[in-house]
């Protein structure tokens, strides 16, 4: 519909500079510049390198998005920006730019929560989200289970990782196996030729004593250590390390815990929709296992296409679009970047 609001979204919370433009639920543009190659040699995202790259990429990425959507900044009705959580210095570049655009074009500004944006992006692919829903967000930066009562207002954290993020575990195991960075896609590929039952790696926080305090929390640090021990023991004995089997068995341990807890969260809360987002949502085994287990309980699994699962501007625009439609008040120009922004606020009130 042409009279639905045209909303621009800016994302710079980690190593992706993303600018997205949506009209209502329709994605018009999703331009992305990534500094991932600059971080590869460090084996992880370097905040200062990411911040420098954001500043360089912002203007050209914005131009690509505007060209792709065939609109100008004057046509935009509102500007949304990730104001947290994320890397402080990286967030600051996006927030400063969003303020510059909003100020110059005299448009309302919405500082939004990155995690809520990961959930909102699904509406671009599958339409309005049935509420309540459970969202599982898994990436190099987050591993969270959320109860979504109202995407524009109420999101309740059910659980999160108590140590490493799921994607971080993929990165560390990939490095351990000498496979490169980022680890997620590489392990997914390597695991295809392996036996996921070859090695029984531990499932963190699934023992009854852990479930009492951490029913919907995750822990991947012990798993990472177990993989390291297993590999080092093999090397000490002079045996070749079966890379494919280790990859497949590690991946199975991660996906088993994630999907088991996500389905349990849906059942406990009487929810029939599970949304999965974040970079790890692109993992092929996670998708299959989630579908299998959800089907048994009549739960619908919604996973956006991989480009929308990783960090991007479209997800921020999608959430901004929902906020505008719901009549939520915009943020003020002194909007802070909040690296530890909690989910109690989906957007920063004016």
């Amino acid at each position: 519909m042409p009279d639905e609001p045209l909303v621009l979204g800016i994302e710079t919370s980690c190593d992706e500079t993303g600018i997205g433009i949506v009209r209502g639920h329709t994605l018009l543009a999703d331009a992305l510049a990534s500094s991932v190659d600059q971080h590869a040699r460090f084996g992880g995202v370097v905040p200062e390198v990411a911040s420098r790259a954001h500043l360089e990429a912002l203007v050209p990425t914005m131009q690509r998005a505007l060209d792709e959507a065939k609109v100008t900044l004057a046509d935009i009705d509102a500007i949304a920006v990730t104001s947290g959580p994320g890397l402080a210095g990286a967030l600051l570049v996006g927030v400063a730019a969003a303020k510059g655009y909003a100020l110059a074009a005299e448009k309302p500004l919405y500082g939004v929560n990155h995690l809520a944006a990961h959930v909102a992006v699904d509406t671009l692919e599958h339409g309005p989200l049935p509420e309540p829903a459970v969202a599982m967000l898994v990436s190099g930066g987050h591993s969270s289970l959320l109860l979504v009562d109202d995407l524009t207002n109420g999101v309740t954290p059910l659980g999160a990782t108590i140590d490493d993020a799921a994607g971080e575990a993929f990165d560390k195991v990939a490095r351990l196996l000498g496979l490169g960075f980022p680890g997620g896609p590489i392990i997914d590929r390597t695991a295809r030729d392996g036996d996921r039952k070859a090695i029984a790696f531990p499932r963190g926080l699934t023992a009854p004593k852990d479930l009492a305090a951490h029913r919907f929390d995750f822990s991947f640090s012990g798993l990472k250590t177990a993989v390291a021990r297993w590999v080092e023991a093999h090397e000490r004995d002079g045996e070749p390390v079966p890379i494919a089997d280790v990859s497949a068995s590690f991946q199975e341990a991660v996906c088993d815990v994630l999907t088991a807890k996500a389905i349990e969260a849906c059942r406990t809360n009487g929810v029939r929709t599970l949304v999965i987002g974040g970079g790890v949502a692109a993992n092929s085994r996670l998708r299959v296992l989630a579908e299998e287990r959800a089907a048994k309980h009549g739960i619908e699994v919604r996973v956006p296409r991989p480009q929308l699962c990783t960090d991007n501007g479209a997800m921020v625009a999608a959430l901004g679009s929902r906020l505008v439609a719901a009549g939520v008040a915009p943020s003020r120009l002194d909007l802070p970047a909040d690296s530890a922004m909690s989910l109690t606020a989906v957007s920063v009130a004016g």
Binding site: R41, F42, G43, V46, E48, V49, S51, R52, H54, L55, E56, L58, V59, M62, Q63, L73, A88, G89, L92, V93, G94, V95, A96, A97, A98, K99, G100, Y101, L103, A104, A105, E106, K172, R175, L176, G178, K224, T225, V227, A228, R229, E232, R332, L333, D334, L335, P336, A337
Partner: protein, 305 residues
């Protein structure tokens, strides 16, 4: 033409509105918040306040001038991201100037040290003669600034010795002059004259250096204060910038406390030639001077430890 100037290279989030006419500048409004951790929150409201105070809509702006630093990176990027995004939204050119030059320009005649706080017990610094930069920008410990000025004198001296021609015409062809002219935004003849003075000064300095004193301008060979090796006394007349104030004891020269942060009008003055000539818009790249701290892992990092 109405020009917006922004600077976040120091603890100040500065926004200024300056009118540039064919033959002059007129400051219209200027606002600042001094807080080293608040650029991200304070700059945009200061811009909005400056425009409101002058009754100017953003669409009436003709150009944006931004201080490129050097300065602490996080705050610096706030100013440049804001300037670049506003320039893009308004379809107007953006011009970058060295933030220290803003202070050097505003300091007026004489030999001036500009020093701003680089954190980690270091300063960003540059030296100026009559508002034109001679040395820097660079970053070092306050106690090492004097030695850097002396070293620069030595370098200039050997260049002069190897050069058959030390007149302004020869200097006009040098890369130094081109760079200095571009950065200072001043006319070539003025910079050439300043550089020629510096060269001459360095030659005079050869003699005085042996006695522990070097004068960059050749006005008067002076004895360095033997008690304070870190003092820049004798090398410059005075210092400006909040770094100069913070490390006043180290530098040992008078600090002008009214010039702690780059004034908006001085920043616009540095870009006035480009603004009047409607020069092409510039990509605003920070003067980083320091590399990221990240270290590449060596070999395979053991997970168990």
């Amino acid at each position: 033409m109405l020009v917006l100037a922004l600077d976040t290279a120091t603890p100040s989030s500065t926004a200024a509105l300056v009118e540039v006419t064919p033959d002059g500048l007129r400051g219209v409004a200027e606002r600042r918040t001094v807080d080293p951790r608040a650029h991200g929150e304070k700059l945009a409201p200061e811009i909005e306040g400056t425009l409101a105070e002058a009754g100017v809509r953003p669409s009436e702006l003709g150009a944006i001038v931004a201080g490129l630093g050097p300065g602490p990176f996080t705050g610096l990027r706030v100013g440049l991201a804001t300037a670049a995004s506003m320039g893009q939204a308004l379809g107007i050119p953006t011009y970058g100037v060295c933030s220290l030059d803003g202070l050097g320009r505003a300091a007026g005649p004489g030999r001036v040290l500009v020093a701003t706080d680089a954190r980690r017990r270091e300063v960003y610094f540059a030296t100026y003669l009559d508002g034109v930069r001679l040395l820097g920008p660079d970053v070092t410990r306050p106690a090492d600034v004097a030695a850097a000025i002396v070293r620069a004198g030595t370098a200039t001296r050997s260049r002069a010795r190897n050069s058959a021609a030390t007149d302004a015409a020869a200097l006009a062809e040098s890369e130094t002059l081109e760079a200095a002219t571009a950065l200072a935004g001043a006319d070539a003849a003025r910079v050439a004259a300043a550089l020629a003075r510096a060269e001459a000064a360095a030659l005079i300095g050869q003699a005085t250096f042996r006695d522990g004193g070097v004068d960059l301008t050749g006005r008067e060979p002076v004895q360095r204060d033997p008690a304070g090796l870190s003092s820049v006394h004798g090398l410059v007349d005075r210092a400006v910038g909040e770094g100069a104030l913070k490390y006043g004891d180290v530098f040992g020269v008078p600090v002008e406390e009214h010039l702690l942060y780059p004034p908006g009008a001085a920043l616009v003055a540095l870009a006035a030639d480009r603004i009047r000539a409607a020069a092409p818009s510039e990509v605003l790249t920070p003067l980083y001077l320091r590399r990221p701290d990240a270290v590449e892992p060596v070999g395979r990092k053991p997970v168990l430890t």
